[in-house]
């Protein structure tokens, strides 16, 4: 049985819940019943497609994100809360889950940007491409003001090319290369009044390659596709066992041809491997997955500000990843304090003594 061919057996309750946890945050009882009736592939057709309700939802969210509170603040708190509100109410959870994936992947931290408006636009950029094409995502990212500021490229001077931007690009594409060469290609990139700007006079005319050619070359190296596939495997399938190259090769080869993120995610989620014990309960829920999952499964939305504070207290402050490589994840999420903190978070949402609360406090519930 091929690992990546579509899974075609019926879904039992644990596997239906597994699918909804990974492709979103959690399922309601109705969704679980429906999934068991419809089977995996029909359920995935529904999960992968943007639902009709999305358009109206996006209009409502656009109204909220234009508010002065979000745009004028230096701290990332308001943008993070807006995102938490969105995650709790979206009709298209897969999109938010994948936006979160790219946030973890590129790991741009609001504290280094110092402007909520730009973090808000950064996340919108990630969301726009979250299920689109990786090459387009990367090309937009290097012109994204938040990204440039966080990577010490507010002005990328000819005389002092930003090493941080170059090393980040090498990290994003998992390549060894000369950061100095890459840095020179991006001289002249700058941010002025919250917008990207190319300053011709700051561009190093002696650079061997243009920025566009440099990106193209990074993208063409098979290491790039392999790195995205490896990270997405960790995100959607398993944090416990690093997959072998031969397992990932078919996905990586296909992704290298079209950089189609939605197709890659669909191939993984539809597969035999995804519904096997190689994947089941092989991830630890992040605080965001834990809290949003709790809220959506029980249909008990919580004020975003409160949830943001609670998730931060147990180790995940949205929009503030702790390192250039994102959150460490896995068992790093759990320690003696955070496990108690998760229980307190659950107890603040669910009725005391309820079976739902007992479930939320159990070791099983900490896993995805």
């Amino acid at each position: 049985m091929n690992a990546w061919t579509p899974y075609d057996r019926p879904l039992d309750l644990p596997l239906a819940a597994h699918l909804y946890r990974r492709a979103g945050f959690a399922a309601t009882q109705d969704q679980l019943r429906q999934a068991m009736k419809d089977g995996p592939q029909a359920t995935l057709n529904r999960i992968l497609q943007p639902p009709p309700a999305l358009e109206a939802f996006e209009r409502r969210m656009a109204g909220l994100s234009g508010s002065a509170m979000v745009s004028e603040s230096a701290a990332s708190t308001e943008s993070a809360e807006l995102w938490i509100h969105r995650m709790q109410h979206t009709p298209y959870p897969l999109l938010e889950k994948m936006t979160l994936f790219w946030h973890d992947y590129f790991a741009i931290a609001g504290a280094q940007v110092g402007r909520s408006l730009l973090m808000e636009r950064h996340i919108q950029l990630l969301r726009k491409h979250a299920l689109g094409r990786f090459d387009a995502l990367l090309r937009d990212l290097v012109r994204d003001p938040a990204t440039l500021i966080a990577l010490n490229s507010r002005v990328n001077h000819k005389s002092k090319p930003s090493h941080e931007l170059a090393t980040a690009l090498l990290r994003y594409t998992s390549q060894q290369g000369d950061p100095t060469l890459i840095a020179r290609a991006f001289t002249g990139y700058a941010v002025l009044r919250d917008e990207f700007q190319f300053r011709d006079y700051e561009h190093d005319s002696g650079a061997k390659q243009s920025a566009d050619d440099t990106l193209q070359q990074l993208l063409q190296n098979p290491a790039t596709a392999r790195n995205v596939v490896r990270r997405m495997y960790r995100w959607l399938v398993s944090e416990t066992a690093p997959p072998g190259d031969e397992l990932l090769e078919p996905l990586a080869a296909s992704f290298a041809r079209d950089f189609d993120i939605a197709k890659l995610a669909a191939s993984i989620l539809r597969s035999n491997h995804f519904f096997s014990e190689q994947a089941y309960q092989q991830r630890v829920k992040s605080p965001v997955e834990f809290a949003i999952g709790l809220v959506t499964a029980n249909d008990r939305p919580v004020a975003a500000a409160k949830l943001h504070q609670q998730m931060s207290a147990i180790g995940q402050r949205l929009l503030e990843p702790p390192a250039g490589t994102g959150w460490a994840g896995g068992l790093r999420w759990l320690n003696s304090f955070t496990i108690a903190g998760r229980a307190n978070l659950a107890a603040s949402i669910l009725p005391a003594g309820s079976p739902e609360l007992a479930n939320a406090i159990s070791p099983e519930f900490q896993l995805s």
Partner: protein
């Protein structure tokens, strides 16, 4: 093949029994106190006999009859009676002239340097205590290696790359609602680890609940944070590193550009009485020998007053270390006031000891955690501990 091997390695690591906890009653603990704003070293440990000091501080000057004399022509600010007692008992050392060459005089940039232990810190996301926590933590045991005790967002010093560092305001934050020990789980090693960590969480919460103490602390915010630290040390749950803070968020309560005298006295009284109560509590419980406390602030202040009865951003300043195993007395020599960093009104004491030597001492000599990987390179010992 390769994947299978890695998987097996993972499984065997995950299936290890909870590491027998090195009797944590033997474990040493580091407590760091951040003082935000740039504390005026010259009016904290006062060179009251120095004419240059007297001329520089036209209205803020503290004289022989104001200060609490501690020898070498130096005296503590009069609000620091608690420090005088600790100093005379040999439980507090004054480390002179701590800093680094050409110190940054901007609050944020300066503080980042002390927090990251990196003088080129713009791109650094993690702090020196956070990286120490990363070195100390054993992912599978569930132990919490480091805690921030305070009410502001976590300072960068204790932000880790991998470890989740809790912010704990009071002991009551560390509770685990309504669950008895969960039934042991089945084959999945990740589930077993989650199970083990849950049990550890229950056990640690129970120890915290049993660790409340009636020791009397003043009402200051720093004192309340240190009370939490003392109770967590008493709870004996394996935390090695604590950060507390006074002065809040940038620019911070020690930043006295105008009318310094009253504000500074209030700040120093809080500092001295809080640390005094903390050390008294630990000594009473027989724990002082296991604890090393250290302060830092982003810079000292200018020698000269600024015409508004305040002082400007300066350079080096004294650091305080306290505990049962400090050498006591002075470490190094008081900075010369005739050889300063900066000119004119900006002139301020120069560093004679790199702050990272103190960090290295705290990490390596005290906690037994290799310091060079955390600080980027080796630094010589500052020699503040009893051998």
């Amino acid at each position: 093949m390769n994947a299978e091997l890695t998987r097996r390695q993972f499984l065997s690591a995950a299936a290890l029994p909870a590491i027998a906890r090195a009797s944590s009653a033997q474990q040493r603990v580091l407590v760091v106190v951040q003082l935000a704003g740039g504390n005026d070293g010259l009016n904290t440990v006062v060179p009251y006999e120095d004419d240059i000091y007297a001329r520089g501080r036209t209205t803020l000057r503290l004289t022989a009859k104001d200060v609490l004399k501690i020898g070498n022509g130096l005296g503590f600010h009069p609000a620091m009676g608690s420090f005088e007692r600790l100093f005379k008992d040999g439980h507090l050392s004054v480390v002179h002239g701590v800093g680094y060459p050409a110190m940054h005089r901007d609050h944020n940039a300066g503080m980042r340097i002390w927090q990251t232990a990196n003088t080129d810190a713009a791109a650094e996301h993690s702090g020196w205590l956070g990286r120490a926590a990363d070195q100390a933590s054993d992912v599978y045991s569930g132990a919490v290696p480091a805690v921030f005790a305070g009410n502001i967002p976590q300072p960068l010093s204790i932000q880790a790359r991998q470890t989740i560092v809790p912010s704990v305001h009071t002991l009551a934050d560390w509770t685990f609602p309504g669950l008895s020990s969960p039934p042991p789980s089945r084959a999945n090693p990740l589930l077993k680890a989650a199970h083990r960590i849950t049990e550890r969480g229950l056990a640690d919460a129970a120890k915290c609940a049993g660790s409340k103490s009636g020791w009397n602390y003043p009402q200051y915010s720093l004192a309340q944070s240190l009370r939490t630290v003392a109770n967590l040390i008493r709870a004996d749950i394996g935390i090695r590193v604590f950060l507390a803070e006074q002065g809040g968020v940038s620019p911070g309560g020690f930043d006295n550009h105008a009318n310094q005298a009253g504000n500074h006295a209030v700040s120093l009284r809080e500092l001295a009485e809080s640390i005094g109560a903390f050390c008294g509590h630990l000594a009473h419980d027989g724990l002082l020998d296991r604890v090393l406390l250290m302060t830092y602030s982003e810079f000292g202040r200018t020698l000269s007053e600024n015409g508004r009865h305040g002082t400007g951003h300066g350079a080096a300043a004294p650091v305080f270390v306290a505990g049962g195993k400090v050498m006591g007395g002075f470490v190094g020599a008081h900075p010369s006031l005739s050889d300063l960093e900066g000119t004119g009104d900006n002139a301020a004491p120069k560093a004679s000891l790199d702050f990272r030597s103190l960090y290295a001492t705290a990490l390596e000599e005290w906690l037994g955690i290799p310091a060079a990987p955390i600080l980027g390179k080796p630094f010589p010992s500052a020699g503040v501990l009893k051998s």
